[in-house]
């Protein structure tokens, strides 16, 4: 499979803002200084769960330089995107996790704000807390939210999310063998480089927020909604941002706090987080416990897959809480039952491929194990059982999964590297593993404006912020291709709701497919106008403005696919694991920019390796307080941990999206954790079933 080459799209292209970013001339939100600006800090609960009896801010208020203090007593704003089930206020009582906001302070400098934070006296009544999602469902567990700890579904029912296909009982009873096992994953943080910061400035009844956001449009809509303002009175600006990986969607409580502090003080306010706050007070990936039963026929054909899973959502329901991956397999009988549960840990919500890497770790570890038990090459086992129809029913608009597996295996030299598990001689053993992945690649609503002025310059207005994916460049390339002009002729204007139309927001790996599609449509419209009216002269400007809302594929599912291959070295005397070779094969349809697309794959694989081997926000079980917040403690990947990731693209033809592009950003982390885990099994012949696969666990299974 391959796609017809195009002129501009599909060639490795340097980011249009690369020089600005690497020379320090790009203005990130934290760099912005507004005259007269105050600095704000947030006081947070030291307790995992507590009722606030009393807050006394009088001493803090009296400090010279303190201009505004917000607590629940003078601010009862509900942060609607912070919890989709219950009312989550900017300041909650009870506080439900160590890090829940108690007060926000604005002062003339940072030191005064911090000193004021220390002068606020809070009288807490400490309440029982629970960290483990399964324990939280027991009858004696203290209810964290009204209605109990099983978070309600969208209909408000306190029931687990159940998916059924076929007849699971039949699938398991008719199997020749049934494999039963459980896997767990932990809370990890998005760990994006840029910490939280928000600057709010009022001009009469108009509010400008300089945010660090993945979506200026969503952020704006949310702020307007929560502050009960007309949309046109709110402007959100974010022209350079330093990563989010899913935890900078929508608006955040600190955007609203900055706005309210600023309103109260009558001066602009910059609210900043420390790295530790960033780790505990926004959100990370939900920890899971996964219990599987899988039935197989003697020849390795799947007959039934059953999953019962628990996702720890923290005390507020900000994320979906799914455990994905079962759908990668073709199986007539499937039942998944997922319990999204409230706990007193940090909030869990989107982190690159939200429900996938942990779910894939579970299902792909067990499938690998079944292949081992049945003495089938795990690669052949996948080729036999991989999905060919979504949930066994819907065809895919394009499906390059088999090609990813076959071509990835060739590049990796699977036959040479994979061997019988645990047979290597000597204390340092090598092993190879692989895993499959998929991620939805929907099409949908977004907008773009393209203008052509009399000088022959094109101006593309798109509401992207470019979270690090090179979205500005991607949008420019798509416009250049459709307009038939070089990229240099196009100025990309982004990251400001005053200058840009609606964009979907850089979440769900949707920017290229949604906003990119709108760019194509706008460029087509502009070409039509040029054909009709001729090129603009002098001060004339031609403007094409498109709100695209393409029809969803009819009776088909649209997915990106991937297969990752890892080779590891495991030192059985020290438990040390090193990834020494890595191949990532991806079907993301047509690749718009192979350079930045490959960077996405490398970044995703790197994050996945960290999640597999060492990352964790570890909690103290005695107090419910996190111990490893930050890059040092959470063991985020360093350059020295990162292998050379070999990337290959299987470019399938797809009838949807801009030039047939599917999505990339999130699919890149999906198979990586499981691939590393399976490689470790292949090396040592023992399986660690609880993430992260740290030295103590490796030595534990070897003992």
């Amino acid at each position: 499979m391959s796609v017809t080459p195009l002129k501009t799209v599909g060639h490795p292209t340097q980011r249009i803002d690369a020089v600005k970013r690497v020379t320090g001339t790009a203005t990130y939100t934290g760099d912005i200084q507004v005259p007269g600006m105050l600095y704000a800090r947030v006081l947070r609960s030291p307790h995992a769960h507590a009722r606030i009896r009393k807050i006394d801010t009088s001493k803090a208020q009296a400090l010279p330089g303190v201009k505004a203090i917000l607590t629940r007593e003078n601010c009862d704003i509900v942060w609607s995107s912070g919890d989709t089930r219950n009312k989550r206020y900017l300041f909650n009582n009870p506080v439900r996790f160590a890090g829940d906001a108690v007060a926000a302070i604005a002062a003339t400098d940072r030191h005064i704000a911090e000193e004021a934070m220390r002068q606020i006296e809070v009288d807490y009544e400490v309440l029982p807390f629970v960290l483990d999602p399964e324990h939280a469902l027991k009858s004696d567990a203290f209810a964290i939210q009204p209605g109990g700890n099983l978070s309600p579904n969208a209909k408000g029912q306190h029931e687990p999310d159940i998916f059924r296909h076929g007849d699971i009982d039949r699938g398991l009873t008719t199997a020749d063998r049934v494999f039963e096992d459980h896997y767990t994953s932990v809370h990890i943080n998005n760990a994006q480089l840029e910490m939280r910061v928000s600057i709010a400035q009022w001009d009469g009844d108009k509010l400008t927020v300089y945010a660090s956001t993945q979506g200026i449009s969503n952020c704006r809509t949310d702020i307007a909604k929560d502050l009960q303002m007309p949309l046109e009175k709110v402007r959100v600006v974010c022209q350079f941002m330093g990563g989010g990986f899913g935890n900078k969607n929508q608006c955040h409580d600190f955007d609203l706090m900055a706005a309210m502090l600023s309103k109260s003080a009558g001066l602009p306010v910059k609210l900043e987080f420390t790295r530790k706050e960033d780790y505990v007070a926004v959100h990370g990936r939900w920890p899971t416990k996964q219990y599987y039963k899988i039935g197989v026929a003697k020849d390795g054909t799947l007959t039934g897959i059953q999953l019962r899973g628990y996702s720890g959502m923290g005390p507020y329901r900000k994320g979906a809480g799914g455990i994905a991956g079962v759908e990668l397999y073709q199986c007539p009988n499937v039942e998944t039952t997922i319990y999204p549960v409230y706990t007193n840990m940090a909030v869990s919500a989107n982190l690159r491929g939200p429900a996938y890497p942990q779910g894939i770790f579970g299902i792909e570890s067990l499938m690998d194990h079944i292949a081992y038990e049945l003495k089938i090459d795990p690669l052949e086992f996948r080729l036999k059982n991989m999905t060919r129809k979504y949930h066994d029913e819907l065809p895919f608009t394009s499906n390059g999964l088999e090609d990813c597996i076959r071509r990835g295996a060739d590049a990796f030299e699977w036959k040479k590297r994979w061997h019988a598990a645990g047979v290597g001689a000597g204390p340092v053993k090598r092993g190879a593993g692989m895993a499959m992945g998929a991620f939805g690649s929907a099409v949908g609503r977004s907008s773009a404006v393209v203008k052509l002025d009399g000088s022959g310059k094109y101006h593309l207005h798109v509401g992207v912020t470019d979270v690090g994916t090179a979205a500005k460049t991607t949008m420019g390339l798509i416009a250049a291709e459709e307009l038939g002009v070089p990229l240099e002729k196009i100025e990309v204007i982004s990251g400001d709701t005053a200058l840009c139309p609606y964009s979907v927001g850089e979440s769900g790996s949707r920017t290229t497919t949604h906003t990119g599609y709108a760019v194509v449509q706008a460029a087509k419209d502009l070409k039509r106008q040029i054909a009709e009216k001729g090129l603009p002269q002098g001060s004339e400007v031609l403007t094409a403005s498109v709100n695209a809302d393409p029809a969803q594929p009819k009776d088909a599912a649209r997915y990106s696919f991937a297969a990752h291959f890892a080779e590891v070295e495991v030192d059985t005397e020290t438990g040390h694991v090193r990834v020494i070779k890595y191949v990532a094969a991806h079907d993301s349809g047509r690749i718009i920019n192979p350079l930045t697309c490959a960077s996405q794959v490398k970044g995703g694989a790197t994050m996945g390796i960290g999640m597999a081997l060492h990352e964790e926000l570890l909690y103290d079980r005695q107090t419910g307080v996190p111990l490893t917040a930050g890059y040092y403690g959470a063991r985020v990947m360093t350059h020295r941990d990162t292998p050379d990731v070999e990337v290959l693209f299987v470019e399938t033809e797809d009838a949807y999206g801009p030039f047939g592009a599917k999505s990339i950003g999130e699919s890149t982390i999906v198979p990586s954790v499981a691939a590393v885990g399976n490689a470790i099994f292949n090396a040592i012949g023992r399986r660690v079933k609880d993430l992260p696969i740290t030295r103590d666990k490796v030595l534990g299974v070897l003992a």
Partner: protein
């Protein structure tokens, strides 16, 4: 961060006078101290900046001995040709610290006197190190904690250079209000059962000015082996500093000191005695590994450190044979 003033003393005496006035901290590289001040783990009124004193970062040879200024950066230490040649264990230990940025700023004395990296201490729990009366790791998350010498605090000493210096039988030159004194490396560090709030014998107004290494001897081989939880920027899970005096294939004497396993650099006299006069064979190395863990008392979550220590001692010994 609490506000503080910065003082630039011209000499050590002035530094000591400033420190004697109370609630002052020495700042060398500042790579850890400033973070601790920000986190309010320390709230000094005065930072006494030793970088204002000339010559504290020098390496010089005095009657065969090597004298190293406490203010030498870890990076300079690890690249010093003489140290690399004659005291490899120290160069390798310095090279294993943190990240290039930390090694560029961090100093030898700062590394030796570094406060623990126990996550309870660093997160401000009211533990023994923070003025409280409890060690939270004892019944808590003690994956990285002590298997030797623990109680009532179970921290592990965080320094990489400290085990190397004890293995080299270094001398620590300390200046204080009552004058200068020389402390053998092995007596510089202090178990929590002596004083659970501190890791060494320094008083708040003492300065670790320099460290002397014994004269280089022919036949000495040394190395530092550090096990990290990722490839860079963690403290040692377990480390071994080993100095062997070899006569052809025979080990005349050995000094072996562990890092990451005890509240102080943990010397292994029993293993050292076992090796003296012996040819280092795989069998002897295996026995040395077994002897290394005699007396280990792991906590609930750090049992893995026992076989890890055994294997790392065995392997390090073989690497020098």
């Amino acid at each position: 961060m609490k506000t503080f003033t910065n003082a630039n003393p011209k000499d050590i005496r002035e530094a000591i006078t400033l420190l004697s006035r109370g609630n002052a901290s020495i700042v060398g590289g500042g790579s850890d101290l400033l973070g601790m001040v920000k986190e309010r783990l320390m709230s000094p009124d005065v930072l006494v900046n030793l970088k204002s004193i000339r010559g504290l970062d020098k390496v010089e040879t005095q009657s065969g001995k090597m004298k190293i200024g406490g203010l030498i950066t870890l990076d300079a230490l690890s690249h010093d040709a003489q140290i690399r040649k004659n005291y490899a264990v120290l160069a390798e230990a310095a090279e294993s610290v943190g990240t290039p940025q930390i090694r560029n700023a961090g100093t030898l004395a700062g590394n030796v006197c570094q406060r623990p990296w126990c996550w309870y201490y660093r997160n401000g729990f009211p533990c023994l190190k923070n003025g409280g009366d409890k060690c939270f790791s004892a019944s808590g998350e003690n994956q990285l904690h002590a298997i030797f010498g623990g109680g009532p605090s179970y921290i592990v000493h965080p320094s990489d250079t400290a085990p190397a210096l004890v293995a080299l039988d270094a001398e620590f030159h300390v200046s204080g209000p009552s004058g200068d004194r020389v402390i053998p490396a092995g007596q510089f560090f202090q178990l929590p059962r002596v004083d659970a709030a501190r890791e060494n014998v320094l008083a708040p107004d003492d300065v670790l000015v320099a460290i002397t290494l014994p004269a280089a001897r022919p036949g000495v081989r040394s190395t530092y082996h550090k096990v990290l939880d990722r490839e860079a920027w963690t403290h040692a899970v377990v480390s071994v500093a080993m100095v062997l005096e070899m006569d052809k294939q025979i080990c005349r004497s050995a000094r072996i000191v562990l890092g990451g396993v005890a509240p102080i650099p943990w010397r292994l006299p029993r293993v050292e005695a076992m090796l003296a006069g012996q040819r280092i064979t795989p069998e002897l190395a295996a026995k040395a590994g077994e002897a290394a863990i005699v007396g280990a008392r792991p906590l609930a979550k750090n049992k893995y450190k026992v076989p890890l220590t055994q294997n790392v001692v065995k392997r390090t010994l073989l690497s020098l044979a």
